[in-house]
């Protein structure tokens, strides 16, 4: 038994070693970056030192330079746009995919239209949407909708197609109607796949948001980094990139928590 505790301790020590190693690697990276800037190897006109980014971060709490808004305003604008597009894609896309997967005529009717839209990256919709709808919230939300819609549909479609035949048969022998089987068997069994789709949609919509804001916006995180470039403020650009990255990370984290609750019956 003693032997075992030692083994356990050994493994923990190993984990600790790797953790220290990764902390060191990140710190080294930051340090080299800082030093390169301090000693003038990299020009402050093209890159900002990590400490400078931190300073700018606090400045942006109240300062509106150079893009005309504080960082919180920018975050709020971006969130509003992306969440509008993202949620409307889930609300429309996921049920649509499931219905298409279950009801053949619907599948036959919608599939061709969907296959036409599918290979066009959402970004390519930007010019058309700008001409049609302008550059307001609606236009950007629509572009984000396109980026999130496709994975929502595809995954819930595939998910419901993979419904186990035995489970359908069980419900059938109990005398359930087709719609009841869809509701009680098809929908729950396709949930893990549907969630996988929503996860992809989440990443897509965040990535597309940046593109939309780079091209057509007057506020938002994407707009902020674009302005950072125009006013040669590398600190603002890097701050913007980091904010986008961190927010994306937080979304994924929240989403994983929700997913774990909703599909907690999964074996994996």
């Amino acid at each position: 038994m003693n032997n075992n505790n030692l083994l356990k301790k050994g493994r923990r020590m190993g984990d600790l070693k790797y953790m220290i190693l990764s902390v060191i690697s990140v710190l080294t990276f930051l340090l080299i970056w800082q030093l390169l800037v301090i000693f003038g190897v990299l020009s402050t006109r093209t890159i900002a030192a990590p400490t400078q980014v931190l300073v700018t971060f606090f400045e942006k709490f109240y300062s509106t330079a150079p893009d005309g808004a504080t960082i919180f305003t920018n975050i709020a604008v971006s969130l509003k746009v992306s969440l509008t597009g993202f949620f409307s894609a889930i609300i429309i896309g996921t049920p649509l995919g499931m219905l298409m997967g279950w009801y053949k005529p619907l599948d036959r009717f919608i599939r061709p239209l969907f296959e036409i839209i599918r290979p066009i990256p959402p970004i390519a919709w930007i010019p058309l949407t700008i001409l049609w709808v302008g550059i307001g919230l609606g236009a950007k939300a629509m572009i984000i909708f396109f980026s999130a819609f496709v994975p929502c549909v595809i995954n819930s479609y595939t998910g419901i197609k993979l419904t186990s035949q035995v489970h359908v048969s069980v419900a059938k022998t109990f005398g359930a109607s087709n719609f009841k089987i869809f509701r009680t068997v098809g929908v729950p069994s396709s949930m893990p796949m549907a969630f996988a789709g929503i996860r992809i949609a989440l990443g897509n919509s965040w990535g597309t948001l940046v593109a939309a804001e780079l091209l057509a916006a007057n506020a938002g995180l994407g707009y902020m980094i674009m302005m950072g470039r125009q006013f040669v403020r590398p600190d603002v650009i890097i701050l913007g990139m980091l904010t986008i990255g961190i927010l994306g990370f937080i979304f994924t984290w929240i989403f994983t928590k929700i997913e774990n609750v909703v599909v907690r019956w999964r074996t994996l």
């Binding site: 038994m1 032997n3 075992n4 356990k8």
Partner: protein, 257 residues
């Protein structure tokens, strides 16, 4: 370290124990002070209910996993890592899906650096023996469950082991295929005599195949009883003596709900 042994004994398992520790879960004691001996050229069946402990014991015997306590000796030598003298047919097979049948079968000699010609010949011989001639270039996913089992058996034989461990090889097969494979394995083992350690949870299968049966308890695995089976071969599953033994062993077995 070495161990004295009686004549005719190949493998000695001495006081082997194993416990698993996981975060948040109670320690899982799976093997408890198991000692046993394997004789030369015998067909030894390890019989136990449920899924607890037997596979772990085999992994320890084969050198894939270190025991917490106790040791395993092969011909007096302590086993600390996999030994080419011991071959294994895994429960879930582990055929590599990216290799064809023959590539799967010849993997043992290939890994030990034996040249293509020799290893091909050997692989072909055993593929023929298990009755898969003509399927050399198929991929595993194109084969039925029984055929995959045959590939697993041929793969183990091709590395020319002296001791062959089979871990519930027929657990996933349907009843009829299972009967066929039981006949096949006794045919193959008659043809290519090896020391075989065969693990199963099926009493009928154990009685049909084994020279000796070691009965284990349900979790943690302990040796409960050892039976010498001297029914004549080929055995008959509805022979009264067979049924009597079956009942006796069954009554002595734990129920693993």
């Amino acid at each position: 370290m070495s161990m004295e042994q009686k004549a005719g004994t190949r493998l000695i398992v001495k006081d082997v124990s194993k416990t698993f520790y996981q975060k948040k879960i109670e320690p899982h004691h799976v093997v408890d002070k198991v000692s046993l001996e394997v004789k030369d050229n015998e067909f030894l069946v390890l019989l136990g209910p449920g899924h607890c402990g037997k596979t772990v014991l085999l992994n320890i015997v084969s050198g894939l996993m270190p025991p917490d306590e106790g040791s395993v000796y092969l011909d007096g030598e302590k086993i600390t890592k996999p030994n080419p003298k011991i071959g294994m047919v895994f429960q879930k097979l582990g055929l590599m899906p990216w290799k064809t049948v023959i590539e799967n079968v010849e993997i043992g000699p290939k890994l030990s650096g034996i040249n293509v010609k020799t290893r091909r010949e050997r692989a072909e011989y055993f593929i023929d023996l298990v009755g898969l001639k003509g399927f050399e270039n198929s991929y595993p996913h194109q084969l039925s469950g029984g055929m995959k089992q045959r590939v697993g058996i041929a793969r183990a034989y091709t590395n020319d082991p002296e001791i062959l461990i089979m871990d519930e090889p027929f657990g996933q097969l349907d009843a009829q295929t299972r009967y066929n494979m039981q006949n096949e394995i006794s045919r193959i083992s008659e043809h290519e005599k090896r020391t075989i350690i065969f693990v199963t949870n099926n009493i009928e299968e154990a009685l049909y195949l084994g020279d000796r049966i070691i009965l284990f308890t349900e979790c943690p695995a302990r040796v409960k009883e050892i039976y010498d089976i001297d029914l004549k071969r080929p055995r008959d599953m509805i022979d009264p003596e067979f049924l009597r033994l079956r009942k006796m062993i069954s009554n002595n077995t734990d129920l693993a709900l």
